[in-house]
């Protein structure tokens, strides 16, 4: 029996803690490259202001990094505490990229961050710069391995089910690593982090210019942010398109849901710019279509077919029927492990075993499921269409706006007119939350769009939970909410305090006593 209260609470807890973690990760990803660029300018030109810029933005980086570390451990532990059956079922595949992330990237990152802060007087300029660059690359490398793991949940390649161990096992690790979804997801996600880091520097610097403080400091920071942000914003949209292309191949249901495309259209399919998708009636009200666009983006051809939701549901019900055969063969093999006929049948149909588990998710025994149960299970493969439809559109809208904002900033910076238009500075300031909104929505599209699956086509999310009680999960969930809220207050307080103080208030620039490098209050 699946206890759906435990499932819902575990999902809520994972979603909250993962989204909270991802408030800090992209800023770390983006800001660290800005630090490396600023410090490179310092080492190349020898101008003290660039060192002070590195150190000032470094203080904010440090506060944020601590939050990232604090909230990251939760995610690693949570697979075990709350998703024990998931961990057992796919640990053979999913655990490896996480462990390699630790060995290859996070160790490097966590070891070198101390030297970034404490090594200014202990290392030569070039060595310190090297430390900063290693820190930057290790951070993105960390993201690579996490996204290899996540991409496998979206497109589980290079593994198959082993009936003796009742779990998925690796058959080709290179297939897992070179998963096309992982490649596009990696570049898309880190670019989004770079955009966010650039926006952070751009917005706070714009605020200084609006206040007429730290002019030299802010203009230089904005120039770095504008160039880095423009490159990143272009990359995030282009690679986001690549991401779209790979889900066409591997997650047809997610794509159809994003587009609220209920039925297969004659190619090339139209793109729905606006509409109100209605899950109950399976239609989109007030839709505004742009002909051809979706087919061209999704298939990069004029004759590629993008299947609609209703057709994908029919396919799901066929696979459920096939999965029931695998499930029945598995029960026979349990009674007699040497039953060659059952083994052959199981090997033949096990690719659809996960679809039989959709019935288990509904607390229906796959062996005795009726046609109505199968239909219900097939219908349950439709994700939350309105949420995906709108999350995607707002995210893309933000992405296009970032290109515009950074391009304009870049143009102003190259004409040395960053402080000319107050309306521009205000726009830059108020755009601060947008990359956070866009990146959170991006994860909603990626993860909510994968439902009802934890591993697409292999393991329904509901089956992945631990055998824990509702009370246990509720208690930990309340604990997380309380602790995370308290930490958010502390983090916001420190961030605002240090940003407000600024390089002038901290005595970092202009220099007061030759080396007045204080990030402490005293």
């Amino acid at each position: 029996m699946i206890d759906h209260a435990v499932v819902d609470l575990s999902r809520l807890q994972f979603a909250l803690t993962a989204m909270y973690h991802f408030l800090f990760v992209p800023l770390t990803l983006g800001l660290v490259f800005m630090l490396a660029i600023m410090e490179s300018v310092y080492v190349m030109t020898g101008r003290e202001i660039w060192k002070r810029m590195t150190q000032f933005w470094g203080v904010l980086f440090g506060i944020n990094f601590a939050m990232g570390v604090a909230t990251g451990v939760t995610l690693e532990f949570q697979f075990g505490t709350n998703w024990a059956y998931y961990s057992h079922y796919v640990g053979d595949v999913f655990g490896t990229p996480l462990a390699i992330e630790g060995m290859m990237a996070f160790f490097l990152e966590a070891t070198f961050i101390g030297l970034f802060f404490f090594g200014w007087d202990k290392l030569s300029r070039v060595k310190h710069l090297l430390v900063t660059w290693i820190l930057a690359f290790a951070t993105s490398m960390s993201a690579l391995w996490i996204l290899v793991a996540n991409a496998w949940m979206q497109n589980p390649v290079g593994a198959e089910f082993n009936i003796d161990t009742m779990r998925m096992e690796v058959t080709s690790f290179s297939a897992v690593f070179f998963n096309p979804v992982a490649q596009s997801k990696f570049v898309h996600t880190v670019s989004a982090g770079y955009v966010l880091g650039a926006m952070f520097v751009l917005s706070i610097s714009a605020w200084y210019l609006l206040k007429g403080r730290n002019i030299e400091f802010a203009k230089r920071s904005m120039t770095v942010a504008a160039s880095f942000g423009l490159a990143a914003a272009l990359s995030v949209v282009v690679l986001g398109d690549e991401s779209g292309y790979t889900i066409t191949e591997h997650q047809k249901m997610k794509l159809a849901a994003i587009e609220a495309m209920w039925d297969t259209e004659p190619p090339p399919a139209a793109f729905t710019l606006f509409g109100l998708p209605d899950l109950a009636e399976r239609k989109t009200h007030y839709a505004i279509h742009i002909p051809w666009v979706m087919g061209l983006i999704g298939t990069r051809s004029i004759d590629g077919v993008l299947p609609g939701i209703n057709q994908l549901v029919e396919e799901a019900s066929r696979r459920i029927a096939n999965g029931r055969i695998a499930y029945a063969a598995m029960q026979q093999l349990r009674m007699n492990r040497d039953d060659a006929a059952a083994r052959a049948q199981f090997e033949d149909t096990k690719g659809d075993l996960g679809y039989a588990l959709l019935l288990t998710r509904l607390n229906v025994d796959p062996l005795i499921a009726t046609q109505a149960d199968i239909q219900r299970a097939a219908d349950s493969t439709i994700p939350n269409v309105p949420v995906l439809f709108w999350s995607f559109r707002i995210m893309v809208g933000c992405g296009l706006y970032f290109i515009g904002l950074f391009a304009f900033s870049f143009w102003l910076a190259s004409k040395r007119q960053l402080d000319r238009h107050r309306w521009y500075l205000r726009a830059a300031l108020y755009s601060l939350p947008l990359p956070w909104i866009a990146s959170q929505l991006g994860w909603i599209v990626a993860e909510h769009g994968r439902q009802p699956w934890a591993i697409e086509g292999i393991l329904p999310t509901a089956l992945g939970v631990s055998s824990v009680s509702t009370g246990q999960v509720l208690t930990s969930l309340i604990g997380f909410v309380i602790f995370y809220t308290a930490l958010a207050v502390v983090d916001a307080f420190l961030m605002v305090r240090y940003a407000r103080k600024g390089p002038d208030g901290l005595g970092m620039w202009p220099p007061v006593d030759g080396h007045g490098n204080t990030a402490h209050e005293d």
């Binding site: 505490t81 059956y85 462990a99 996070f106 055998s467």
Partner: protein
Amino acid sequence: MLDYETLRLIWWLLIGVLLAGFAVTDGFDLGIAALVRVLARDDDERRALLETIEPTWEGNQVWLILGAGAVFAAWPLLYAAAFSGFYFAMFIALLAFILRPGGFSFRNKVRDPRWRNAWDWVLTFTGVVPPLIFGIAIGNLFLGVPFRYDDNLRMTYEGGLLDLLTPFPLLVGVLALGMLLMHGCAWAAVKSEDPIAARAAGLLRWFVPTYIVLYLAAGAWLAMAVPGYAISGAAGLDAASNPLHKQVVATGSWLADGPLGHVASMMAGVAILAAVLVPLLAHRRRHVGAFLASATAVVGTIFSFGFALFPFLMPSALDPRSSLTVWDASSSKLTLGLMLIAAVVFIPLILAYTTWVYRVLRGRVSLQHIKQSHSMY
């Protein structure tokens, strides 16, 4: 290519190495955090004491994160069973790890003494709780844990947080805490100047005997009053990882009847000898030597528990057949092989650059330095 049985043995040892890496490096961070209010009396002293670990605690903590990740990848059944079975215990340990970065990174960012005092209490909590919880968890492994598997290898656990708090596990928990308090003082004696270093050396005269007495008590208890388990009728040392394919029987004692029980006792002997040296060396101001002796004691202690349990990883008290052992709880052969290649490449690299970082940061953190300059941390 190594055979499955050898790969399993290597990964059993490697997890021990990672946990030992955590206990030796992050162990002194935990010990110092726990003692921040005891070892250092005013704010300057506390800042000086904390600066002995601030640049490196994050890297040290990765031994734990990597350890957990490696258990996930190499021993997925153990990872799933231990983390979900010890649900609340893990949650409380997690709270400590969530609060910990703030204790280091946020404490010095505001001058108000109330703010700093509050973070010092947080640090104390984050230093005391993890060793206690990990010790209690390890103690419970020897008693057997109330879980069983069904045919789908879905685990159910029958027990709660309070069921973990029986005398033997509590003793192991206090032992782990005592061990890391000793280790923290040994580090403070190396990296601080007087009066902090002198205070740390003084405390060693208390912590070391406490640790030795607790350790001997736990060992005697284990030898005399805790029955062990043994595998009877295994599916084979290289069989598919399915715990239900074997039988398990009870034995008289882990130490006397376990296949590596005598190795465990030897490890314990080494650990205690090393611990005896700690205060002797510290007394002669051989602080580095005292720290290395303390590190040896920490490693010996951890390995002694691991060897005593071998070949079990997590015995089941409810259904002994469901017990997880080295021979039936691992990943596939391919995964263990791949992970081994990664470990052979990266662990030496990690040791190399970690050593370099410690070399760059060598020397004692002086109060003079703390009063003059302020890091950006």
